[in-house]
Symmetry: C2
Subunit: 457 residues, 2 copies
């Protein structure tokens, strides 16, 4: 008899039919004549409750081997459940313990199941409710990202992970090498790539090459920062989504980003209802309402100058004082979205001195065509810009910042031959998952987090 996944079993109208399931035992409880246990197979958050009447069994030996963490195959009759919180339960007929779980050493005993304990057990934490739910939400969001861009005819492009270019300048980089440790010179001609190589901090510049030929592309891949930040907001390795579109100015870019964010949230609200209800109940109260609010609200669009005026005009006392020319801090972003505008805000035209060299320069000589999306509860969630498409302006900016012109020869070629207005944005996937799940620590939304002194598993 074929086994059925538990998600489907739980959605079945009970009609006394026989079903088989398999999975891992989450809890077990014996009373005098009856044994209860719950099985989970990862297909959904809920367990299937299984009940065995010991008196009806010829041999209860196998039932005694059923313990928390064991893998089992169970066959029984699906019936309506009198219990709260479940529609059906399984009246067991036969059980087979596939793999035992010695109780004296199993680290995920129910009573020791506190949330703080689990991070040291990254290899077993997918066996918990929280990490199962995170994994399913992360999966659904990944697929939604692909669906969104495929529907819009964006081509998925795998930009390189290893790069000899440190041209993007987005942060401290890891070095990639095959040189034996203890090499005494800085001579990289002997190294694998014949020169110093790094792990990428962004796929943007590479993606621009493809957008300036095929119009619409996106990346979705790992990026790296070698920053010594041991916080709940930083990872050394994280996944980024970076669309890039030609013949697309900053307004087109804002439209795309707003539509993108709403699509992903709507998708996960529809496809991960049970898991999100769990996060709303256990992790972050009001989560569902705040996500729905973003989906339903047109994003307010204001300039950086307007944002600064609103913050100064509010009279609010901030930890970091606000003045034109300094970057917005998280407290400012939250104040704008939560108090001033009560919803998501897109801020454009930031001072050029606090933004990257590649952003399109406005005619005022002071600002660039950057756009950041800010949301309540988090602040900045998306950062993007229209790119400088004019060769001489871009060259002037590179010179002005003292960057090495030669390093950008291929990037400049895109402006030399058939240049077009183009723009894109970047989005840290783990930040978005934190936002959707309410998980406080970014290390809890990626399977095996990498951070300072932490590359275990």
């Amino acid at each position: 008899m074929d086994t059925m996944r538990i998600r489907r079993v739980l959605a079945t109208e009970p009609a006394e039919q026989e079903v088989s399931v398999h999975g891992w035992v989450r809890t077990k409880r014996d009373s005098k004549n009856v044994t209860f246990f719950e099985v989970n197979d990862g297909s959904c958050l809920s367990n299937l409750q299984v009940i065995f009447d010991r008196a009806e069994m010829e041999n209860t030996g196998e039932l005694d081997r059923v313990q928390t963490g064991a893998s089992v195959e169970v066959t029984g009759t699906l019936v309506s459940s009198p219990g709260k919180g479940q529609k059906v339960e399984l009246h067991g007929k036969s059980v087979h313990v596939v793999g035992e779980s010695p109780q004296e050493s199993y680290p995920l005993q129910k009573e020791r199941h506190s949330f703080e304990y689990v991070p040291e057990l990254a290899h077993l934490r997918p066996r918990t409710n929280t990490f199962g739910a995170v994994t399913r939400v992360r999966n659904a969001m990944s697929f939604a990202i692909h669906r969104f861009f495929q529907d819009k005819e964006f081509l998925y492009v795998h930009t390189p992970i290893i790069t000899a270019s440190d041209a993007e300048g987005a942060g401290a980089m890891f070095q990639v090498t095959t040189l034996p440790p203890g090499k005494e010179s800085e001579d990289y001609t002997e190294d694998f790539f014949g020169k110093r190589a790094f792990l990428t901090v962004s796929g943007q510049l590479s993606a621009e090459n493809y957008a300036c030929a095929l119009e619409r592309v996106y990346t979705f891949g790992p990026t790296f920062r070698a920053e010594n930040s041991n916080t709940t907001r930083h990872l050394a390795e994280f996944w980024m989504i970076e669309p890039e579109a030609a013949f697309c100015d900053i307004h087109c870019n804002m439209d795309l980003a707003e539509e993108f964010l709403k699509y992903i949230l709507r998708y996960v609200l529809e496809h991960c209802e049970e898991d999100l209800a769990f996060f709303d109940l256990r992790i972050q109260q009001g989560l569902l309402d705040s996500l729905r609010h973003v989906v339903d609200t047109p994003f307010r669009r204001i300039s950086y100058t307007e944002a600064v005026d609103a913050l100064i005009g509010s009279g609010e006392k901030f930890e970091y004082p606000v003045s034109w020319g300094s970057d917005l801090q998280s407290e400012h972003e939250k104040y704008l979205t939560e108090t001033v505008y009560d919803g998501p805000v897109i801020v454009t035209d930031y001072p050029r001195d606090i933004k990257a060299f590649y952003m399109k320069q406005n005619d005022d000589g002071k600002t660039v065509r950057a756009m950041d999306i800010l949301v309540p509860r988090l602040g900045e969630i998306i950062g993007g810009s229209e790119r400088e498409a004019d060769l001489s302006r871009l060259e002037a900016r590179i010179r002005e910042l003292g960057l090495e012109m030669d390093a950008y020869w291929w990037y400049l070629d895109l402006r030399r031959f058939g240049t077009v207005p183009h723009s894109g944005f970047g989005l840290g996937f783990e930040r978005l998952i934190q936002y959707v799940t309410g998980m406080q620590n970014i290390r809890d939304v990626i399977p095996f987090p990498r951070s300072v002194k932490n590359a275990e598993f």
Copy 2:
């Protein structure tokens, strides 16, 4: 007026309607009164032919700026084309050159467009027919991979790229470090992760952690080999697909792999008809037939021992002689698929001494539950196995091979607590794209290839 993507324009029934397009000029030709040029926007292989009657124009200056490589916006009337190979053409009314392309320096002049020339211009090669087609096929295959696994309720899991574990032993590894060059000791306590760290060679062991909790997972991410192989078949950085399923033995694994491969090929045959026809015509004759043959043929399943017997029994002279115990070479794999069985073959139960430590050991003490899928024209395309689920057998094998037991503590935990039969396979994405497109050099199926002495762009 909104612009229309060229793929849609070319599929439109011409009814004298006005349309606007944008893109890059691929060729241009002037006769006395008429200017022809072709525009491509990446949405499909074909260009849109545009014709301007110069006599009808007040100002032909803008038309003179239209040159190969320039970006343009064109509005005109869509009419039936008398020319071969196209249903419609655009009778231009107005043209705007967005970005010029100086002909004296543009590297992709039509006459210099030979295939061998392009690899040194990775940033511009997406502007060619071949690389545009490769990019679209790669994109479609990526999405098909996600669709296949999502439909089967496999969860996409992002396994780590940086790892302190070199436990998989699949090949030479790159080291990841933030130590300044010239550090003289092998002391990694000062390094970012506090120990020696590497770029992953496989996500399998990590994926097993998730399969042994959530039943069905897959990875699709970059993997790395620091092998000094400067060939058309090797990359230092490439993408791998690795599904892993619990409660799934080797037969279930073979069924999954066969269904997967057929699904991807069928998807790309349906969704990339024009691009595949191009590859069939220009790159590899008979390509389409060979792909359809794989889709339509049940994969023959034989044991390694049967394969060796068939090869020896054939009387064929091979460069590498065949004997029980040695690995099958590419020439043997091709002979089996092309001559002996005339179709794809799944070979199982290889000698354990030529396979990895984690494969399930058969009771004969000589073979393991490996399975490789071989296809005509290529040889091995998928390699997988049922994993050893028995703790004591796995420990014995690790000891036998002299591996360091402590490095596997978490991997062994999966067998200690609720172990289950589980299996999976791995597939090099670029090898599969080569197979689908017929492209001879693996560096031509990834946007920015990394190999020995090559990390440019």
